[in-house]
Amino acid sequence: MLRCSNLCVSYGAVQALKGVDLTVAEGECVALLGANGAGKTTLLRAISGLVRPRSGEILLQGQTLGGMAPERRARAGIAHAPERRRIFPGLTVLENLQVGATAVRGLGARMQEDLDRVYAMFPRLAERRTQRGWSLSGGEQQMLAIGRALMARPRVLLLDEPSLGLAPLLAEEVYVRLADLAHTRITILLVEQNTAMALAVASRAYVLEHGEIVLHGASAELMDHPRVKEAYLGA
């Protein structure tokens, strides 16, 4: 479904990604792990078109995305729930969700079905539907960010650090929903610093260090891998 091959991204003289190869198959949930500054967010931003790769390719369903603008990638089926959630603060919960469906054309009455699905998944959002984005708690904002991305009926969902800045209990709640979501066979690329949580949800994972993939494999394998245990699971 999604494939990056030999992807290089630089910010000025700094190389953020040094030839990353990564694939996400249809219906798969793949985690991308790594420390702060390893290049995880940069990879997601390259996939959604916010940064231009210096070289390499990104393919969605076999089609190269080239220099396509982010808004066109969104319409092609890439939904990116960015780091720090980036809820529209002045829009209500409902408006945030509605505007999330911008990428889908001719939705008409089916918009309500999609809204109901998101509300069923995150009942808290239904209760808060007329509140403005800024007034939500961190956990609610995260739910809204995921719900907003789902409203685009994405082919690939990119999630950047959904547990960031959340109290452990809330992070767990978000991850329970993510596990449900992964079971619906939606294609997900999940960036996360909380390795244990991410490995519990994803079927496969990649480990990124200093802009390079240093490890990849099935989640169960990685969980027992000495290097992962030592560096990321704190065991």
Binding site: S48, G49, L50, A69, P70, E71, R72, A74, R75, A79, H80, P82, R86, F88, P89, G90, L91, E95, Q98, V99, G100, T102, A103, W134, R148, A149, A152
Partner: protein
Amino acid sequence: MLTIQLIINALAVGSIYAVTALSFEIAYESTGVVNFSTGQLVTAGALVGASVTAIGPHLAPVAYLAVIVAMAALGLLFFVGAYLPLRNRPVLTVIIGTVAVGILVQNVSLLIWGPLPIAVASPVGNATIRLAGLVVPTHALFVILVTMVLILAVYFLLYRSPLGTQFRALAQDPETARLIGVPVMRLYALTWMLACALAGIAGLLLAPMWFVDVGLGDSLALKAFAAAIIGGFGSIPGAIIGGIAVGLAEVLGASYISSSYKDAIVFALMILFLLFRPQGLFGERVADRA
């Protein structure tokens, strides 16, 4: 009685300031650019309207349509010629670009229409009506009515339509708006078309009250700027209330204090706001921009 008549006149003048400030505000909200060519756009609108009404006074209502179309086209030109090439530069560069557009529009206007002032007829004529002992110019009522229609139209566009939600999303966080597929370039183009059309209509509303020459919009834009500051920069309701407030301060100040100080009164009010309440009446909540 006299006071009520003055207030109606103030509302009419204030309405024009409000429409101009609205033009200002829409461009600022969506693109972050303070449009310093607003005054010249107001003038261009008035001049286009003047040319249409000059063909025959019965065409005065058509003039409004013509101004909307012509100014929207100018807005598109503005977008393609000034905003697109400069949009990735620092915002100050774009703002200076709008100054250049203003100079260009003013000089082209001078070339086409010449320096002589032109009288423009109102679609409702220059009659007055007597209402319960009040003498009210029909054009003043017309201005208030048109402004209310415009405000309603902008309100529905921004707050009651899917397009409006996209507009506001874009204003609050352009990068995330792109991530969810908002066609940002199309919306920026629409923004400039709308801003120019509103400025043009403000000019046409003003035209029957003053003579129209190429400097018509300059002082109007300054007052609209004051209105935007008083109302709260970055707030659409603020632009409207600020416009009315400036109209009231000006007309009431002119008749109760001195007409030679009316501009000074408005700008003193603006300075007071800048000193003591810089966020204006409807100051934007910082969180809205977070």
